[in-house]
Symmetry: C3
Subunit: 255 residues, 3 copies
């Protein structure tokens, strides 16, 4: 397990590499989240692409460095796009993130998410309410470690404190701000940031922990000037853009 200072430095390194390399992150995501997700990726230094047209996915994936599969809009077109995109992921051994949005509200979506889990995502980023329909059981740290190990994936369970585990290692990221829960697509955007980190860091556990620590710290910085959730949404983008090593070292609370 990494000490706080160490992960802060890893996060700063990961962020520096994203800014330097500008990885392309292809996002199959919901219409509510597209704009905020794209702006989050751009602020971090990555390049978003978002097409879901089945006939185009292959050529877009050929230039992509990571894939985000977000189930927030669950239509036939996106399901088809996901299938094609995952074929490209398998062929290129590309990292990908599964974000099983709102599966607790829809048995069909939950079944689809379980099928995707079997395809081996690098990271599953989810909320506590999405844990049981995907993995079974309660969203406790021990259960998360067990399913991460069993599924061979990194589980990033976000909330008041984010838990990131690959089954062997475990990080608790205690950053963030309550206003983050009042901005639609903040969770979706955090999954996209994890994608950008995976594009430049092959250790998926470090990548996910770094991205979530960075976003949590950015949320705290943003809350210092925001007047409410509207200005906060923009301030988080600003804070991600200007986030530096000193701020990460001073603020990251990882154990």
């Amino acid at each position: 397990m990494h000490a706080p200072v160490e992960l802060a430095d890893v996060a700063a390194d990961v962020l520096a590499r994203v800014r330097d390399r500008g990885p392309r992150v292809h996002c199959i995501t919901n219409t509510v989240a597209q704009q905020y997700t794209a702006n989050m990726l751009l602020a971090a230094g990555a390049i978003p692409s978002m097409t879901i047209a089945r006939e185009e996915i292959v050529t877009f994936m050929a230039e992509a460095d990571a894939l985000l599969v977000n189930l927030g809009t669950f239509d036939a077109e996106r399901r088809g796009a996901i299938e094609v995109a995952l074929g490209a992921v398998d062929a290129a051994r590309m990292p990908w993130v599964l974000d099983p949005v709102f599966i607790e509200a829809s048995p069909g979506r939950a079944q689809f998410a379980r099928d995707l889990l079997a395809r081996g995502p690098s990271v599953v980023r989810l909320n506590p309410s999405e844990f049981a329909p995907l993995f079974g059981g309660d969203p406790a740290a021990d259960a998360a470690m067990r399913v991460a190990k069993a599924c061979g994936t990194v589980v990033a369970l976000t909330g008041g404190t984010d838990l990131v585990t690959d089954g062997a290692r475990r990080a608790a990221v205690a950053n963030g701000h309550s206003l983050m829960g009042l901005v639609t697509a903040m969770g979706c955007a955090s999954s996209a940031l994890v994608c950008a980190a995976l594009a430049v860091e092959s250790d998926a556990w470090l990548a996910a922990s770094s991205a979530l620590a960075a976003l949590g710290v950015a949320g705290e910085v943003a809350a210092q000037t925001a007047r409410g959730p509207g200005s906060f949404a923009a301030a988080v983008i600003d804070a991600v853009h200007s986030l530096d090593r000193a701020t990460l070292r001073a603020r990251a609370r990882v154990s």
Copy 2:
């Protein structure tokens, strides 16, 4: 008819209940408005859901407290989703709001809106230009009272001064700011706020009047710091989030 101070207090009560109970508002709305609508609901204390996948609507509606039907995107998928959602509304006797966006520009959309009107929405929230294609006649106060009575619905006709009537009672809400007309989806978001109010206030006329007064006051507060329509859009979200009884009492202009 309520005096200004009374409606200000009712609005404060309604807002307090929304914040306390966190009602789920299911929104079948257009892609342009989804993000702003979701953020408006979150700022008010409600929980948005937005799926339009036909096979999922029933399970999402099972957890919803109110439904928004917005015609701003008018495609086969949404029309199918609306049909299924209204079945759930009928079964659960759930309040719902019809927002007949841009029906003046499309006869097919206008016909669809008239068919929906026959299904008995709790509230119709519309602009003056949408009045004639939906109800026939000019958007005057007397005509609005007549059609509200005839249709058994609350008509919320928004503009410089908002008119809210159930056929017997009538409120004129003279709040708001001209910048509200320069933010896309502001009307759509106001309909979503009416939905959130309906989820906690069974008197649809009070619910609609409260939501529109609250949003109008929030717009005035936002205009005090905004530098233009871009910063204003975020400032309205901020102002809804922090709106309190004292501000409502001081600013609500309802007759």
Copy 3:
């Protein structure tokens, strides 16, 4: 070729006419860009409409003053909508703008863009990376003049310095700010502004140059107060809304 001061005044005139007449700009654009594009048009004084439902396009186009065709979302529904909309454009001799988003990533999209080019857009607004797949060759000024002349269109090639040419005349607009590249849909919104300008200025070269100069100046004004790309996105909208002749004269750098 116009001197800087002249184009600043033309741009101020065009902007004044947009504010005065409030042209309706129909946008067939991608879901990521819809909200920002609509807010940009509203800030400039134009009225956006965005339906892509095939059965509605004709009635929406009947009230439109200009059409934007943006290929950022490339699905069957939009392709059908574009076909119908261009029929209305031909019948009404309406100006229209082609924005061939991301065609370098998709041969099918590039072919579709070339087919649209043959339909005679008033202006093609594109990035350097989109030049080769659409026109062939490198995105140099001479090549742009040649293809503009051959295709009978205005080519507006945007980047660090924007190049606008109708084959005979050429403007280099050296305004803008690097943060503009970090806001998703900024290019899409610039194409929409060109559309609004075309609705009130029949010289397509002047219209495109004016719109791009205005947006570039607005970007510079916005950068003075923005704290990063999040607040910048809103500040650009604010700056477009309040842009005046004096600022255009002081800042426009056109040669």
